[in-house]
C-alpha cells in the first residue's frame, strides 16, 4: 500500500486555497457535525441500537462537507451506502437521519430504508444506493432532466475507488461525456474496497483519474483531506457543469479511519498505514490550520460544542422515536401509497 507521500500527498493537508473566514468556519462546522454524527452512529451500532449495517465516512468528511457547502439548493446529490455525511451535508435533518439508522417511525425513510439508503429529496439528497455502480447512471438522468427542463441544476455523484471497476461506471461516464451533461462524478479513493486494496484489482494506479481520458475528460486529482482545496475543486466543477461545460470526474484521495462497515476492525490494514492517515485527519488538521490562521480557540470550541449538542439531541429524538407501524410493510410500493398488485 503506497504511503500518502508516495501518493504525492503532503504529510498533512496544505489548505493553500484562500477562503474567507466565514466560509472556512462553515466548512469546519459542517465537518464537525458530520464527524460527531458518524462517531455516534458507530457507538449506537456497537450498542446494537443500529441494527443491520452502517458504513461511516469517518476520515472522509472533508469531501462531503466541501461539496455540501459548494452546491446550491436545487442541486442533486447521489450517494452510496456510505452516505450519512453526504445526506446531512445537504441539510437533511440530523434527528430524522439518526432515527432512520435506528429504524424508527420518525426516520427519514420511516424506517424502511435504513443506514444504506438515506434520502431527503426535499434537500436534494436524491438517495443512497447500495449496489455499486448504478447511481452513476441515475445521476446522469437527473442532469439530463435539468438540461431539458432548462434549469441550471447540477447532479453530483459520490462513489468509491472500487466502483471504478464495474461496468456501470464506464457506461455512465461515456454517456455523460457524449451528452455533455451537468454532472460531477466524485471518486472518494480511500485506497480500499471492502477488505481488498484497490491497487491489487485495478489496472491503473489512479482508479478514476487514469480513466478520465477514456471519456475525453481532464483528470482531476485532489487531496481528499484538504477541505479548502476540495471546496475550490468543487466550485470549479459545479461552475463548469452549470455553464454547459459538461461533466467532470474528480478523484479525491482519502482514507477511512475505521472499518468498511458495522464492527469491522479493519485488521487488514497495517498500523503504520493507519497512523500516517490519522496524521492527515481532515478535521483535526483543519482545526490546527484555522488556529494558526488566527481563529480563536473559543470560537472553534463553541462550534464543536454546538455540533455535539445537535448530535445528542438527534440521538435522543431517535431513541424516543416509536417503532414503525407494521402496516408500513405494505405501504409505498406504488404512488397511491399501497402495494396492491391485484383487484
Amino acid at each position: 500500500m503506497p504511503t500518502p507521500t508516495e501518493l504525492g500527498l503532503p504529510p498533512v493537508p496544505e489548505f493553500a486555497a484562500p477562503l474567507d473566514d466565514e466560509l472556512a468556519l462553515r466548512l469546519y462546522t459542517l465537518m464537525q457535525r458530520l464527524r460527531r454524527f458518524e462517531k455516534r452512529a458507530y457507538d449506537l451500532f456497537m450498542q446494537n441500537l443500529v441494527k443491520g449495517t452502517s458504513h461511516l465516512s469517518l476520515g472522509q468528511e472533508a469531501i462531503a462537507a466541501a461539496f455540501g457547502i459548494a452546491m446550491r439548493p436545487g442541486d442533486w446529490t447521489f450517494a452510496t451506502y456510505r452516505g450519512h455525511a453526504h445526506t446531512l451535508a445537504r441539510g437533511a435533518p440530523m434527528d430524522a437521519a439518526m432515527a432512520e439508522l435506528l429504524g424508527r417511525a420518525n426516520g427519514l425513510l420511516a424506517g424502511k430504508g435504513g443506514s444504506m439508503h438515506l434520502t431527503s429529496a426535499e434537500h436534494g439528497a436524491m438517495g443512497s444506493y447500495a449496489i455499486v455502480g448504478a447511481h452513476l447512471t441515475i445521476a446522469n438522468g437527473a442532469a439530463w432532466s435539468a438540461r431539458l427542463r432548462g434549469t441550471d441544476q447540477v447532479a453530483v455523484c459520490f462513489f468509491g475507488d472500487g466502483t471504478t471497476n464495474i461496468g456501470a461506471f464506464h457506461e455512465a461516464l461515456n454517456l455523460a461525456a457524449v451528452w455533455r451533461l451537468p454532472v460531477v462524478f466524485v471518486c472518494e479513493n480511500n485506497l480500499w474496497m471492502e477488505y481488498t486494496p484497490i491497487g491489487s484489482v485495478t489496472a491503473v494506479p489512479r482508479p478514476a483519474a487514469d480513466r478520465a481520458s477514456a471519456y475525453g475528460l481532464e483528470p482531476v486529482l485532489a487531496d481528499g483531506n484538504d477541505v479548502a482545496a476540495l471546496y475550490e475543486v468543487a466550485a470549479q466543477a459545479l461552475d463548469r457543469a452549470r455553464s454547459g461545460g459538461g461533466p467532470s470526474l474528480i478523484e479525491a484521495v482519502t482514507y477511512r479511519h475505521g472499518g468498511h462497515s458495522r464492527a469491522d476492525p479493519a485488521k487488514y490494514r497495517s498500523a503504520e498505514e493507519v497512523a500516517a492517515w490519522m496524521d492527515r485527519d481532515p478535521v483535526e488538521t483543519y482545526r490546527s490550520h484555522l488556529m494558526k490562521a488566527g481563529v480563536a480557540v473559543a470560537a472553534l470550541e463553541e462550534i464543536e460544542a454546538a455540533a455535539q449538542r445537535e448530535v445528542d439531541a438527534a440521538t435522543q429524538a431517535a431513541k424516543d422515536g416509536p417503532a414503525p407501524s407494521l402496516d408500513q410493510v405494505d405501504r409505498d410500493v406504488w404512488a397511491d401509497g399501497t402495494s396492491r398488485w391485484r383487484n
Binding site: 424502511k112 429529496a121 441515475i138 446522469n140 431539458l148 404512488a335
Partner: protein, 324 residues
C-alpha cells in the same frame, strides 16, 4: 378509425404521448435517426428532436438515465431493443427502479416506461427470442403490461406513460406486422384490466400477447368440435385483473393458461395458484398450463414452432383434458 400495424401503433402511441405531455422523453439505441431496428419509432425524432435521443450500447446507462430523469420531473420512455437485453441492465430494473420509492418511504416517484421487443417466432435463437415478462412479474415494484393488438398498444402505452409508477411494456416482436383497427383521436386505456374476448361455457382459456390470437384460433376449432371456450386476454400482469379472471374461471370450472415463457414459475403458475386458492369449489377439474417447455429457444423454424404453444397444441390439450 384507421388500420395500423402493431409496429405503427407503437410510433402512433408514442407520438400521442409526446404530443400530450412535454415532459415525456424517449431514448434508446438506434431509435431516433433510424426509427428503431423494428422500425417501430419512425418519424418521432423529426417531430420531437430534443425529446427523442439515440443512445450508445449502454443499457444500464439508458435505464439509469430514465430513472434519474423520472425522479426529477420528466416522464421517460426507454427502449430496450430486445427483452433478452433486460438481463444486462437488470440491476437498474429490479434493484433500483423497482425498489426506490419503497426504500425512501415514498419520497421518490418514478413515472417511467421501459418498452421492449419480447417473444419468439422470428427464428432469432435463444438470446433474441425470450419471453421474460415473468422475470418482471416476480419483482415487487414493477407494473407489467403486454398488448396483443394495435389498439391495445396505443391505449396501454398511453396508460403506462401516464401512470405514476414504473411500467415494463412488453411488445411482442412477432406481432409487429399484425394489422388492426385503431380509433381516431386520443386513446388512453387502463392498466390492470383483462379483456374477455369470447365467452363459452365449457372452459376458460387465458392467454397473453402473441398467445392470444392462438387461443382464439383454438377456441374456434374447439367450438367446431363442440367445446365452447371463454378466451381472456390478460393484457396486464401487474396489476392483475383477478376479478375478471376469477369470474371467467368460476363460470366454466376449468382453466387453461397459454404461456409463451418457459415452463417454470410463469404467470400461469401464479394464476393457477390464485384460482385454486380462491375458486376451489367452483372448479370441475385441475387447471392446466400450456407453455413452452423449460428449454432455451432453438433457432431452426421447425424446432421453434414445435417449442412455442400453437393453436393445435391448445386444441389438443383442452380436448384431452375435457375428455371430449
Amino acid at each position: 378509425m384507421a388500420e395500423l400495424t402493431y409496429r405503427q401503433a407503437v410510433a402512433h402511441g408514442l407520438a400521442q404521448e409526446l404530443e400530450h405531455d412535454p415532459s415525456v422523453v424517449f431514448l434508446g439505441e438506434d431509435v431516433a435517426a433510424a426509427g428503431g431496428v423494428f422500425k417501430a419509432t419512425v418519424g418521432l425524432a423529426e417531430r420531437f428532436p430534443d425529446r427523442v435521443l439515440d443512445a450508445p450500447i449502454s443499457e444500464q446507462a439508458i435505464l439509469g438515465a430514465a430513472m434519474g430523469a423520472a425522479m426529477t420531473g420528466l416522464r421517460p420512455v426507454a427502449e430496450i431493443m430486445f427483452s433478452d437485453f433486460l438481463a444486462v441492465c437488470w440491476d437498474i430494473v429490479a434493484n433500483q427502479i423497482a425498489k426506490t420509492r419503497y426504500m425512501t418511504g415514498g419520497q421518490v416517484s418514478l413515472p417511467l416506461v421501459v418498452r421492449t421487443a419480447n417473444g419468439g417466432g422470428l427464428r432469432f435463437g435463444a438470446q433474441h427470442s425470450q419471453s421474460v415478462e415473468n422475470w418482471a412479474m416476480a419483482v415487487p415494484g414493477l407494473k407489467v403490461v403486454a398488448p396483443s393488438t394495435p389498439r391495445d398498444v396505443v391505449g396501454l402505452l398511453a396508460a403506462a406513460v401516464r401512470d405514476p409508477d414504473p411500467v415494463l411494456f412488453f411488445e411482442h416482436k412477432a406481432l409487429y406486422p399484425l394489422k388492426g383497427e385503431v380509433p381516431d383521436g386520443e386513446i388512453v386505456d387502463a392498466l390492470g384490466t383483462a379483456k374477455v374476448l369470447r365467452t363459452g361455457s365449457d372452459c376458460t382459456i387465458v392467454a397473453l400477447a402473441a398467445m392470444v390470437p392462438r387461443a382464439l384460433a383454438a377456441a374456434t376449432e374447439l367450438a367446431a368440435a363442440g367445446i365452447d371456450a371463454t378466451v381472456v386476454d390478460v393484457r396486464s400482469l401487474v396489476p392483475l385483473d383477478t376479478a375478471t379472471l376469477l369470474e371467467a374461471v368460476s363460470a366454466t370450472g376449468r382453466l387453461f393458461t397459454v404461456e409463451e415463457n418457459p415452463r417454470l414459475c410463469g404467470w400461469g403458475a401464479e394464476l393457477v395458484s390464485i384460482v385454486i386458492e380462491e375458486t376451489w369449489s367452483a372448479l370441475t377439474g385441475p387447471p392446466v398450463r400450456i407453455t413452452t417447455p423449460h428449454v432455451p429457444l432453438p433457432a431452426a423454424d421447425a424446432l421453434e414452432d414445435h417449442a412455442i404453444p400453437s393453436a393445435a397444441r391448445v386444441v389438443e390439450t383442452v380436448t384431452k383434458a375435457l375428455g371430449a
